[in-house]
Amino acid sequence: MSESPVLSDAPADRNESPENASAARARRRGARIGVGVAVGLGLLVLMFALAYVAPLIRPFSPSEVAGKPFAAPDGTHWLGTDDLGRDYFVRLCVAGRTSLSIALAGSVLALVAGSAVGFAAGVGGRWLDALLMGGVDLLLSFPSLLLGLAAVTVFSSSMTTLIAVLSIVSLPHFARIVRARCVELRELEFVLSARISGVRSSTIVVKHLLPNVFPLMMVQLANSAAIVILLESALSYLGLGVQPPTPSWGRMIAESQNYLTDSPWLVLGAGGALLLSSIGWGLIGEGFATSRRSVV
């Protein structure tokens, strides 16, 4: 190679060294992800923290009658009281425990199960692919709320049932996204090279596919968490969610909608909490989506 010193394929003699350029790009990208994800994450962490800390900083329990019904917000009752005279702020925060943890648990479960299905369909044979994707399509063809209603009616409406059913209805999206990406990736040269080298399928999934699918999975996790939170609230609103006396946002909206004209803060409080948590998840999802490093 020494006979052509004029131009070697080493990048070092080019004007811009790719190392510097890529480092700079990475830094800029880092800064960009930062804002969206940090705000979203901060919002959710704050809400989680409030959910667990509120009963400690306020001298009321969520089920205790703490004052007159329909008291307007003031120094003692930060968000007033509900129709039974319970402190609304404490109830709202404690309800957050249910809603937020169901959303997190449900979507993480969906991520794990859905991705497993997606990877199996993506790298398994044609028959396994057809079978799994057929099942996923079947699941997708039912409206998720209807499925939730059916499941809650058949089984009890405990937290476990809710998490299970909500993860099942959001699983198909993970499965489809992961499979689609795998189908794309499995034709790429580095995956073929690994196969030719005799690397096991499971190793290929973990080492080659997972790192390249992961950002997409994160985007979907955030999206489905936002959807799960709304679904859970919808079920609660219909009276099929977590049963009283455990408070939940959906049920609180349902209970207080009769008093909308006289005590609007009741509906607005629960609705607002729902909105804020959806925005939080949405921001995280958006952050990952824009930061997603495209492959090849």
Partner: protein, 616 residues
């Protein structure tokens, strides 16, 4: 055509009949992206109406930036400065968006590498061209229709009435590029920018498009700026040439001056790197030293009656049909064919990425075509593959050393031993071992391909299948990688199956060459014999179509283009090449020729092999 009367720039004024006013003129033209140093520097370039100016350069030399600037299509962060920058008399530096829009299409048009991307897939091609005709010439109804057909006829599209009603995906690659050309010419531009217009095409189709470019220059009188990395393409079409390197024009002038009597070192190096047909200078050094082919011994692997068919929409497509071959230990077998010839499917079956529909695959005397599980894994260690795209060969998220450990780990080599072997092979391919901890995007394309080669040989395979390993690389890098492949083959005592569409590259590296067409082997012979006296008409067509880097080899006149029907040759009942063959007779269309031996080691599937039929 008076192409032989290549002009030096000083004489152009006298040649007014053909060469009109300047349609592109730039002096001291610079492009800067953001705060980076100028990526195009002090470029002086003039294109006159009725001439083709070739712009040669390797990737990253800034040639596409120049073309995009002429259309005002550079990204926003690009900053253009120039002393003069005029397109068809309009000062582009001062033009606003409205002026630019007017300019595009009616004064300047562009033909891209990927014709499929340039055409709207959901619109009939006639309508697409019609839209441009309507916008720029204000024609309606029947007049517009006639103008469209006239355009298609002038770019030599056969059966224009029929083609105008088709969608882009129904056209063959060559026809698609012709239609894209018609689309570009529909607004009657005076400057046509062609950015690598033939790079994605097969060599026989490329020859037709190059002929078309010359026709377009003469018939439409446009000035063409032809951008290419391929010196042969430029040599066969351009009147004047500019050579670009790292954003600067290092040399320019009449095509014969630059390509035959280059003055700059860079041009000389570039010309020297081009593998030329008929030259086997790069042959292995140890050929006589006992390291050569041992064809008499037992072959390393034997392929017998291998076929692969796919079922697509109820139709059976035969990608590979009844291929048989033997490859000796230490041999380099070149496989040549155009796209769709089945060469990549063959490669995938050889490494068992794909299962043959029929036939046997044998290595060292054992059948490996149906192996599964552990036994397949053991076989895998003996065969490796190098792919075309260096970018895809390495997992972008894994450090190079991690990717390289993979084949070693599959063979049970791990830890320090693996690391030693990795350092050894990296050093062997000329990549500093201490860079192994980096991620793939920190390497250039050529380096990535070196790493891919290192990865393939790390586990000491016996056979490496190389699928177009140099096609995505710049010529200078390509020459280095070819040298490297030969060196590695010697050092590691490897057998290569080298697949390429590039005949010159195959000739430079192969001991024997197999030519495929429509899934069948049409000819197989020792490399020297094949290139010296090709027997199959397809092989001849391929060899003739390769654009020579010598402008004096330019065909004098536009010969009639062979019919490009877009039919599926693999479905023919007789000889697969009969539809395009100059020698075809009724027997060829009725009866498929068998592969038969002409002389020792030279077999051809043809009823009337070239240069042989006269003797009978």
């Amino acid at each position: 055509m008076k192409v032989a009367a290549a002009d030096d720039p000083g004489q152009t004024q006298k040649d007014d009949a053909r060469r009109g006013e300047a349609v592109l003129r730039c002096r001291d033209f610079n492009v800067r992206y953001g705060t980076a140093p100028d990526s195009v520097r002090a470029v002086d370039l003039t294109v006159r109406a009725g001439e083709i100016v070739g712009l040669i350069g390797e990737s990253g030399s800034g040639k596409t930036s120049v073309a995009m600037a002429c259309l005002g299509l550079l990204p926003k962060q690009a900053h253009v400065s120039a002393e003069t920058f005029e397109v068809c008399g309009t000062d582009l530096a001062a033009a606003d968006d409205k002026a630019l829009t007017r300019l595009r299409g009616s004064e300047v048009a562009m033909v891209f590498q990927d014709a499929m991307g340039a055409l709207d897939p959901s619109m009939r091609v006639g309508r697409q061209i019609g839209e441009v005709v309507a916008r720029h010439r204000g024609l309606k109804g029947k007049a517009r229709q006639n103008a469209v057909l006239e355009l298609l006829r002038r770019v030599r599209v056969p059966e224009p009435e029929h083609r105008a009603r088709q969608y882009p995906h129904q056209l063959s690659g060559g026809l698609r590029q012709r239609v894209a050309m018609a689309l570009a010419l529909a607004g009657e531009p005076r400057l046509l920018l062609a950015d690598e217009p033939t790079t994605a095409l097969d060599v026989t189709v490329q020859a037709e498009i190059l002929r078309l470019l010359r026709t377009v220059r003469d018939e439409f009188g446009v000035g063409i700026l032809l951008i290419s990395h391929d010196i042969g393409v430029i040599a066969q079409t351009a009147d004047r040439v500019a050579v670009m390197r790292d954003g600067e024009i290092v040399e320019s002038g009449a095509v014969e001056d630059v390509l035959l009597r280059p003055t700059s070192d860079y041009t000389r190096m570039l010309l020297g790197s081009v593998p030329k047909l008929g030259e086997r200078a790069r042959r292995r050094p140890a050929e006589g030293a006992g390291g050569g082919t041992d064809l008499d011994g037992a072959p390393l692997f034997v392929v017998d009656g291998l076929s692969r068919s796919f079922r697509a929409r109820g139709r059976v497509v035969h990608a590979v049909r009844d291929v048989s071959l033997r490859v000796g230990r230490g041999e380099v077998l070149g496989v040549v064919g155009e796209s769709g010839s089945g060469k990549s499917t063959l490669a995938k079956m050889l490494v068992r990425l794909d299962q043959p529909s029929a036939g046997r695959l044998e290595m060292n005397g054992a059948d490996y075509g149906r192996l599964r599980g552990k036994r397949l894994k053991a076989f895998r260690r003996a065969v490796q593959m190098v792919f075309q795209h260096p970018a895809g060969s390495l997992n972008p998220k894994l450090r190079v050393v991690t990717s390289m450990r993979e084949p070693l780990a599959a063979g049970g080599v791990t830890g320090g031993e693996a690391r030693r072997r990795i350092d050894e092979v990296l050093a062997e391919v000329g990549v500093p071992p201490e860079t192994a901890g980096r991620l793939p995007h920190e390497f250039s394309g050529g380096q990535k391909q070196r790493i891919a080669i290192a990865r393939a040989i790390a586990a000491r395979p016996q056979v490496v299948v190389l699928d177009e390993p140099t096609s995505a690389l710049d010529v200078s890098v390509q020459a280095q990688v070819l040298d490297l492949l030969l060196k590695v083959q010697q050092a590691e005592e490897l057998t290569y199956v080298f697949i390429s569409h590039d005949l010159a590259v195959v000739q430079a590296i192969s001991d024997r060459v197999m030519v495929m067409y429509a899934g069948r082997v049409v000819e197989i012979a020792e490399a020297e014999a094949l290139f010296a006296s090709p027997a199959h008409w397809y092989t001849r067509a391929l060899l003739e179509a390769v654009p020579s880097p010598d402008p004096r080899d330019r065909p004098e006149s536009g010969a009639a283009s062979p019919p490009d029907t877009g039919d599926r040759p693999e479905e023919a009942r007789g000889c697969v090449f009969a539809a395009r063959c100059p020698r075809a007779e009724s027997r060829c269309r009725a009866e498929a020729p068998e592969l038969s031996t002409l002389s020792a080691g030279h077999a051809v599937a043809c009823h009337f092999p070239a240069d042989r039929e006269g003797s009978k």
